[in-house]
Symmetry: D2
Subunit: 375 residues, 4 copies
């Protein structure tokens, strides 16, 4: 049991602080023989990297990943994979003035109260820098999934920012990587960009909702009752910095629905069961149905803003604090690749768990259907 | 790693099916010397028990808990506590007709696909019956918390049912146990009751939102970054049957907020830090601030309804299915004591984890405040 | 993490005290679709049961196991299997006189010091009664292994008692179940029996060495470096009551050997590698070679004897104590079925772990043998 | 659950291969506020480092440790501590000739069979190089123990090499670090050194028995029944490369003892219970008594020798193999600091587990002694 590990078989332990010499992820339980090099991981890190537009922090981090173990001659060996990213642009001077102050909305005060010591530089362990290690680990998970579940795709995108809500009728996943907001709607980009620039100029920040769709996931993944796939996905999303809510399928809206509206009816298709709707978000009883897995999570607005806020310091003195430094006006944007990476790790973990317990055998439908019919 | 265990030090492993001889919970890691008898646990089970009003299933289950181990002369010994509840009212005949059919919105089809075998009687392992074991384990956790954190209270209640949303201005926790809906608003009970009766008569069901407030929780609980308290609470709530969304503090609404609105400002009070607001829901960076912990979750409408739904059976034949039997028109009601029990287990677990790692030492605020100042 | 759980995927959590109402095992991670009834488990419990001869305690325990969950229509469902054994012959009066005294060589004093409370009846949780639950869980593991690894056999037997050491030249596994000592040498039974009777009449007890041989175990089981198969087997054996030493292959004798003597040479046989010797005990680098796995463990003499011993009580008074009651003159005898059961659980666990990580793919030998050649 | 992690609260995950760019340990669950710098860890690595005498491999490894995270301004922060050791002297050419051959007595063949790929350079993950990471993690554990258990000392030493057995009558722990063999007997050093040099010149190697004594360990550590302290210690020792047997207290010799000889009698001393003997090795029922913890383990002779051995290669061809390179004639010597480090981690882990479950409360002896008396 490690506080900094997630996963059951495919385990990821992240380590490192925002302004330490380096951070990274120790990945264990990876299947052997998988083709893997830094070039399989780096693109995902580049996608998350800040400093690419005015819409994210100007902090420059090359975020170059190095594989220190677990890979031999370009393939995984089944031993732990150590992924290290050196911190190059630390600018500690940005943070000196808050060494003994607690930024409102930040973990400064809780880390201090819990540990009676904290690395105040850039939030230390609680910094969003930590998510770079998750993205690197997700790159390993994706490399494995490419071999174990070729049909599977994991796509994250923004569906809400402040009061702006994306129009599903116009969704086109091909657009997501063509704009800085990970918006699946090209037409909306100018308006959303202008809106975010206003927020930024007002020295403020804004929240967002990110959605992740997993396509081509086989049925039967998930282990009731406390290792349900939705349980593990919810934990993974909630563990991301600044996330305050998680939804699967209808999510909170399910509270407004009637049983006659919510339950997805089933019909028989040429290749097996076909569901008429997907209110469940691809998961029933914690196990995948084979439909798209659809989840959303809300990211609160960045707490580090250039507007003065009332707070206290370690001496108990009341102060007004402006958090200088380079911050995202909408930290939800960079949560997109992080959520994809977490989802990749969770899905792979359950693929491995499933082959451990069931060997991948599946119940037959459309045959005599007697109890225990196996495919 | 067990699929059916939750918790890290205070671990709860539930077992049993809806229509097997018994179900229960194996509780390990409980501190020794805690006063505990069945009478400490039974009231919580009685509170959850169905068959108490027309608003919940008429199924009669005495749900009598027995302590089979881990308690000697009325006090815990530090060894595993086995809690067993025998299933007395099984009525298997109610379920024979769906032995080979997949109820829409249920885990029937996913259990079948995953395991190629399923106990179809009452949903087997996926039945809400399993939550009785959680409530029993929660009773143990509450007995320990009564000794380790006397100030702490855990209160669950309904805040939304379908389109009815409770009016916070009228909340009175004292009312919650005075009505069958766990509503904190006495004045709203008649309307909500009538609404639910309409749903029931229409042979339909409805979703709900449950809120849990934890008061008197000390600061410093939670272990970043993957054992964050909100991460563990979200997983616990999401693991409850029919839950589709989980929120902490502002939850999904955080997406609509600006940084200037969301970050809770801090002032110094006589006994330590005082927060002006609680958008964070009592948790920052995964660690408690000492404010109320506030979380909500959405429960989908019961899928078992007396209205015919289109589905298939194991033979792949398309059928129309009416789920006979005795079902809750709003399963969210009974989720209230379950959520409280899960919350009690998670909070206790983190109390034990915290004294393991920090020994309960806390950072001093209001002193010289030098790094490492300890209370 | 549960103190009372062993295993990683196939997990066994035992619960219960010697004189409580019942004890048992919660088994999780069992593959679905395995034929299983009480009759698959009971014979193993009967084999362990005391009261069968003068050589073991006369305490009468039917040790009837009941399956309370996880099995439907005679086959496992993939959900937790609860195994319960009720305690019927408790004779608490035997133990009243030591309620506040610490029996030398027993856990009485350590449980008291750790927990400040203990169930003194028959040793409570530290009683060998707990091993009945292990044997029941082992019965489940064997039922699974019968399907997943048909060739595999697990055989435990006594190789030393006091100064008597069995003669390997005369070993015949067929004899093991034909005598009360689990001796693989029929000719030695009379002498060993007489020796043990002398010990018993002298109101004394004696230690023993038990050996377990696992045949037909496929190569490739074991997960370096801290989940090595020999590591998990050593932990399993050491967790058995009264065990003080564990050996794999040459064991402690390896200290006397030279490299030229110890390393098992390899030659190529028709079906793959053939080892000239088996000093390694079937495990290299924590992974099975395909040879017999051979391990031994030493069991100390029963501490409960009818001879007075000097000790103290909770009041700190010095007393002389005779442990009345019905005790084994050689507790090592009953450790044989327990060790087999533990071994079955560990081997199954690693079979499941291996198919999770490698999918059961094996490296090819005897082909071109290029890196990554797969069978 | 990670294959490469040990510990429950204080967890250590080692990573890295013999000839990769680096190896290290990810340490989680470390208490905050502990003074820690590289200089607290380096001396333990230097003590283990090869190339210091003719009696260990001439391979030159500076083994410089770097702390990459979890420490701020010289004190631990409670976040993961990443310890990295770069591999500087790799000499891959030494190993090219065995790239496709299986060295007898090594994990070459089992890694190949399991993973169908292996880093053949210096044994890759199965190399004794991995133990450098354990020693580094042990340095962290010792720094914490220095604060949490000042009285506690952990001392490892050699007690047997081949047929040479140390004379306990002459033991003097002060001598251990004054010779290259970690012998507690200065007078024996010349004879043992000469014996080992003969082995080396004969291009052979020899086994050894290492003993570890832990003094000043408080009573009450250990968590029955599968997290017993002796169980965790046995697993820790057995996980060390080349270890084939583990003993606690009397160990395998317990099989020869009678109950009247083995059980340690108890008397009352001025400061609490006093045991007349220590056959138990300081542990009863898996929990410490407060006596010295005494354990031993056997290390097989180095399998890499300059004498030709018969084996096969991946092509299945039968070959004779001489393992060139620089090898320890007695790998047991370097196992001493490794065993000490593992013991330090296990003891600290149980100290933290104990304060989680019991809060460090202890049962009172010598008072009224009523059940539940607490100190």
């Amino acid at each position: 049991m490690s506080f900094n590990t997630f996963g059951r078989i495919f385990t990821v332990t992240t380590w490192g602080e925002s302004h330490g010499p380096a951070l990274g992820a120790t990945v264990d339980g990876c299947p052997p023989g998988i083709s893997l090099t830094e070039s399989d991981i780096q693109p995902w890190l580049d996608r998350r990297r800040p400093g690419q537009s005015k819409l994210t922090t100007q902090r420059q981090e090359p975020d170059q990943v190095r594989i220190l173990s677990g890979v031999f001659e370009g393939r995984t060996t089944g031993t732990p994979i150590q992924l290290m990213i050196e911190n190059t642009d630390q600018r500690s001077r940005d943070y000196g003035d808050i060494a003994a102050a607690f930024r409102p909305g930040h973990a400064d005060i809780t880390y201090w109260q819990k540990y009676a010591i904290r690395d105040y530089r850039g939030g230390g362990r609680s910094s969003a820098r930590e998510t770079a290690a998750r993205v690197a680990a997700g790159g390993v998970a994706r490399a494995v999934l490419r071999q174990l579940a070729q049909q599977l795709t994991i796509t994250g995108y923004m569906v809400q920012m402040g009061d702006l809500v994306a129009d599903r009728a116009r969704f086109d996943f091909a657009e997501i990587d063509r704009n800085d907001l990970f918006l699946p709607d090209a037409a909306a980009v100018p308006e959303w960009t202008a809106y975010l620039n206003e927020i930024r100029k007002a020295q403020d920040s804004i929240g967002a909702v990110i959605e992740v769709t997993i396509r081509g996931c086989p049925p039967g993944l998930g282990a009731p009752v406390y290792a349900k796939l939705d349980t593990d996905l919810a934990a993974a999303m909630m563990s991301i910095n600044a996330v305050k809510g998680v939804e699967i399928g209808e999510g909170m809206t399910a509270a407004r629905l009637k049983g006659t509206e919510n339950a997805d009816e089933i019909r028989m298709g040429p290749d097996g069961p076909v569901f008429g709707t997907n209110h469940a978000g691809g998961i029933l009883g914690g196990i995948t149905t084979g439909q798209d897995i659809v989840m959303r999570f809300a990211v609160k607005p960045t707490s580090s803003i250039l507007t003065a806020r009332r707070t206290i310091n370690q001496a108990g003195e009341e102060i007004d604090l402006i958090t200088k430094g380079r911050h995202d006006p909408c930290v939800g944007i960079r949560a997109v690749p992080v959520a994809e990476a977490m989802a990749a790790c969770v899905i792979l973990d359950h693929l491995l768990l499933d082959r451990a317990q069931t060997g991948g055998v599946r119940g037959r439908i459309g045959s005599a259907g007697e109890a225990g019919g196996r495919e």
